[in-house]
Amino acid sequence: MSPVEAAAILFGSFMVLIVLRVPVAFALGLACVPLLHLDDKLTPIMLCNEMWKSYNSFILLSVPFFLLAANLMNAAGITERLVALARASVGHFPGGLGHVNVMVSMLFAGVSGSSTAEAAGIGSILIPAMKKQGYDASFSVAITACASVMGVIIPPSILMVVWGGLMSVSISGLFLAGIVPGILIGLFMMATVHVFAKRRNYPVYQRASLVEFLRALRGASLALLTPAIIVGGIVGGLFTATEASLIAVIYSSVLGGIVYRSIGLREFTRVLYESAAFSAVALFCIGTASAFGWLLAYYRVPQELVAFAEGWGTNAITTGFVIAGIFLLVGMFIDAIPAIVVVGTVLMPVAERAGIHPIHFAIIGVVSLAFGLVTPPYGLCLLIAASIGKIKVVEALKDVSFILIPMLLLLSLVIVFPEIVLFLPRTFIPDLR
């Protein structure tokens, strides 16, 4: 069977199943079955085998742990402390709570690796507060959803763990690479909030006094240590990503259970269950997506794609934009994790051929897919924020698209100037080429 025929069968049956509302994970698995039956050299047992191989990974084990740490932080009331700190720092800018929202998302992103935990945790506090102060519900929802994408760009990041584990890219390198683009997204977004606030006359807080600021800083200080421990520990070679995720869990349990005394045993069990159940759904996709990706590789589809890509030249910038475009499109329809497994692995040789550094390629992918978290029809963070704000997703779309413009500009900068991404990893990891 030719690569084109195989790809047509795989993607064709996948699309049909998706339209029938079959969950993405099941659609990816079912799409493999016809080829596994038709080809004499293959058997559907390989579906189980590929899934088993992808789950049997010590690196991926950090995904439920990072999610658990984030959920524990929410339950422990750490999010409120970060809000107090952000309010004392940026509350006096025009559109105060909008800036607070963006800054809390940045701080929270350094603590958690998950955008959905961020949208849920921050949204449940700030969206009602913003609506009460007279912000439009659409804007409150849009800014919460868009700011939460920093969760997977600023380290630690579940998407980067999956990417690094799957494509053998240094996870500490990826974490370092995400810092600058993540902070830039925050700054770009604050500028956007400023424009909104001026045009719609949003309220401001009085400037906090130094004493108030210091008090808020002290309240949040223990939480702010988390990124230092996690990222410092991984980059300094003290522990692996999985061990760091465990330390994040222990640290947040100690904060919630002993220092702040805000989590009891019952609450702890509830958070355990929710983290296990939610991460299992996301991870289950990795298995069927791996089988799907394995079949694409078996029929040499990636090689065919590289040959096709020669057509538009091997210019790194053009290739970078094409890659970002594909990830943006795919991210609109499916979850980021299966998109990484299927599309990331297929595009890797294309990026390599164009001379894009593996870390640069990964960040282009992660940032583009992060935007998919706020674009319909499948924008998980937008769905969460809209349900907290009690509005329909459609009502927030206009504000979301306005906030996305500067974010797309940043993505272009990241593509054109690889140094934005590669500067920190090259400084801290000397043997990185």
């Binding site: 969950p23 579906l47 296990a276 299992a280 759904v281 289950f284 029809p377």
Partner: protein, 165 residues
């Protein structure tokens, strides 16, 4: 009757996934602390054991998500305007998922049979105990999907009888 049994099974799965995640936390903690402190011996089996718990967490999570209807899907079709259309949509989706469940039962069984003769590299666990996750998941999906399909059929039938419920 069927629903009571399934509800009981569902509760057991919910407890089991919490126990497995806790085990993972304990086992990985032992591994980390044995490396940083001198007084806990260095275990080799911790890495393997945590991976095996992890596989079961994912598979049990996928079963729970079938019952809860929380697997991610994409809404492209127009929103169902009546209960009946909602039932027809459900029937399509759940039948396709049932096909996948049967693939898991049939070939998961074959896959698990490979495990009978294999033991794991480090702790010599019989691999059947892990490979078994595939057929078990398949059978559990079948059970919960039948429950969903029954509700779908009910939705369609009730509408035809003129909105009795």
């Amino acid at each position: 009757m069927l629903r009571t049994v399934l509800e009981w099974y569902y509760r057991q799965l919910r407890s089991l996934i919490v126990i497995l995640l806790t085990t993972m936390l304990v086992v990985v903690s032992m591994q980390v602390f044995s490396r940083f402190t001198g007084f806990i011996p260095r275990y080799l089996w911790t890495e393997e054991a945590s991976r095996f718990c992890f596989v079961w967490v994912i598979m049990i999570g996928s079963i729970i998500a079938v019952r809860d209807n929380t697997h991610f899907n994409v809404d492209i079709l127009p929103h169902p305007k009546s209960k009946r259309i909602e039932g027809i949509y459900g029937l399509m989706t759940h039948s396709a998922m049932l096909a996948m469940a049967f693939v898991f039962v049939r070939y998961g069984y074959e896959f698990a049979r490979f495990g009978v003769k294999q033991t794991s590299e480090i702790s010599q666990i019989n691999m059947l105990s892990i490979y078994l996750a595939f057929p078990v998941t398949g059978v559990s999906w079948v059970l919960f999907l039948f429950e969903h399909l029954l509700s779908d059929v009910n939705l369609i039938a009730n509408q035809e009888q003129g909105n009795e419920t």
